[in-house]
C-alpha cells in the first residue's frame, strides 16, 4: 500500500514536471468562434480563431507583398511613418534589436506599415531602410492605400491611427506577433525596451512551438 502511494507520487510528480516543460506556449488572441463539422457521422467541434485577412501592399523594393508572401513565416507587424517626430524613432531603435537577433532566420519577418502612404512612397521607404541600415528581405516597409492599412490595423487588434493637425498622425506604438497560422500571439509596447526583450523571448518560444508542430 505504502509502495503504491510512493509510485503514484512519483508518477504525479513526473506528470507535473512534464506539463511544466510544455507550458511554453503563447496565448492566442482575438475573438474566436466554433464550427461544428460532421466527421464519420459524429459532430466534431472546431475552434475558429481570429486571423489576419488577405492583403496586398508594396515593399521598399517595389515588390508586391501579400499574405502569400508570408506563408510559413512568423512575423512582427507595426505601424509608423518616416517623418514621425515622436515615437517612431524609439520603436525602430527597438525593432532594430529584434531585426539583428533574427536577421538570419529564414521563417521570420518584420512588416512595418506606413500610415502616411502619400509621403512614404517606395523610394522614400527605400531611403529610410538604407539609412536605418536594413537590407535583405527580413524587414519589409510596406505601402498601400490608407484604407487598406487602417482596416488591417483592426485585425491586429490595435486601435486604428488617428489623424490630427498638430501631430499629423497619432498611432499606437505596438509590435504585434503573428504566428504561421496568421493568429495574433502577442502585443508589445514597442517604445519600451523591457517589452521588446519579452517579444524576442516570445519569438523564440513561438518558433520552437511551430517547429515541433511541424515535426508531429
Amino acid at each position: 500500500m505504502r509502495k503504491l502511494a510512493i509510485i503514484i507520487g512519483i508518477v504525479l510528480l513526473y506528470a507535473a514536471c512534464k506539463s511544466d516543460g510544455n507550458k511554453a506556449t503563447l496565448p492566442i488572441y482575438g475573438n474566436r468562434d466554433t464550427k461544428t463539422d460532421t466527421v464519420d457521422g459524429k459532430p466534431v467541434v472546431d475552434t475558429i480563431y481570429n486571423t489576419i485577412p488577405a492583403f496586398k501592399f508594396v515593399n521598399q523594393y517595389g515588390d508586391s507583398v501579400t499574405e502569400k508572401s508570408l506563408k510559413g513565416d512568423i512575423y512582427v507587424a507595426d505601424f509608423f511613418f518616416t517623418t514621425c517626430p515622436s515615437i517612431c524613432p524609439i520603436m525602430h531603435r527597438n525593432m532594430l534589436k529584434v531585426y539583428n537577433e533574427f536577421k538570419n532566420v529564414a521563417d521570420f519577418k518584420i512588416l512595418s506599415h506606413t500610415i502616411d502612404p502619400k509621403h512614404d512612397t517606395v523610394p522614400v521607404l527605400k531611403k529610410y531602410a538604407d539609412a536605418l541600415g536594413i537590407n535583405g528581405n527580413n524587414w519589409w516597409l510596406l505601402q498601400g492605400t490608407k484604407e487598406d492599412t487602417y482596416t488591417l490595423s483592426a485585425s491586429y487588434l490595435v486601435s486604428p491611427p488617428q489623424e490630427n493637425a498638430k501631430e499629423k498622425f497619432i498611432h499606437d506604438g505596438y509590435f504585434i506577433l503573428v504566428d504561421k497560422q496568421k493568429r495574433v500571439r502577442g502585443t508589445y509596447d514597442g517604445t519600451l525596451e523591457k517589452e521588446v526583450d519579452r517579444l524576442i523571448a516570445d519569438i523564440k518560444t513561438l518558433r520552437a512551438e511551430s517547429n515541433t508542430q511541424i515535426a508531429q
Binding site: T83, S86, P89, H92, L96, K127, Y128, A131, L132, G133
Partner: protein, 139 residues
C-alpha cells in the same frame, strides 16, 4: 601659536575656495538637472538615452569635436530645428529632420548644458545669456 594661526588661515582659505567652487558648481547642477528632464521629454526619443542617435537617420550627440566646433550654432539647432541641411557628424550625414522647439532660452541653456556634459562630452555650463546671444546670430 604660529602653527594655530597658519592652520586657521588654511582652514579659512579652504572654506572660501570651497564655497566659491560650490557656487558655480550649484549653477552647473541646476542647469544640468533641469536639462536632463527636458532632454528626456523632447530629445531622447530621437537621439537616444545615451545620445547614440539612430543609424544614419538621426546623428549621435557623442561627437565632442562636432559639438565644440559648432558650439555657437547649438542654440539655433535646438530652437529652429534642422531641415534638410544635412549636418556631418562623426563623418556621416543623416536622412532625418529635426523639429523646432518653442521653449525659453533658459530651457535651451539647460538642455545644452546637459548634452554638452553627458555622453562623454565635457564643455561646462551654457547659460541663458550665452543662448540669448547665440540666437541673435541664427541663419
Amino acid at each position: 601659536m604660529k602653527f594655530k594661526v597658519i592652520a586657521g588661515l588654511v582652514l579659512l582659505l579652504g572654506i572660501i575656495a570651497a564655497s566659491c567652487g560650490s557656487e558655480t558648481d550649484m549653477e552647473f547642477k541646476r542647469y544640468y538637472i533641469g536639462g536632463e528632464q527636458l532632454y528626456r521629454e523632447r530629445c531622447q526619443n530621437c537621439h537616444g538615452k545615451n545620445g547614440e542617435g539612430l543609424s544614419n537617420l538621426i546623428p549621435p550627440l557623442t561627437d565632442s569635436t562636432f559639438l565644440k566646433t559648432n558650439k555657437k550654432l547649438l542654440a539655433c539647432i535646438v530652437n529652429n530645428g534642422v531641415n534638410g541641411q544635412l549636418l556631418r557628424v562623426s563623418g556621416k550625414s543623416f536622412v532625418g529632420n529635426m523639429p523646432a522647439n518653442d521653449i525659453a532660452p533658459v530651457d535651451i541653456a539647460r538642455i545644452l548644458t546637459y548634452i554638452t556634459n553627458s555622453f562623454g562630452n565635457k564643455m561646462g555650463t551654457v547659460t541663458s545669456e550665452d543662448v540669448a546671444r547665440d540666437l541673435k546670430d541664427c541663419k
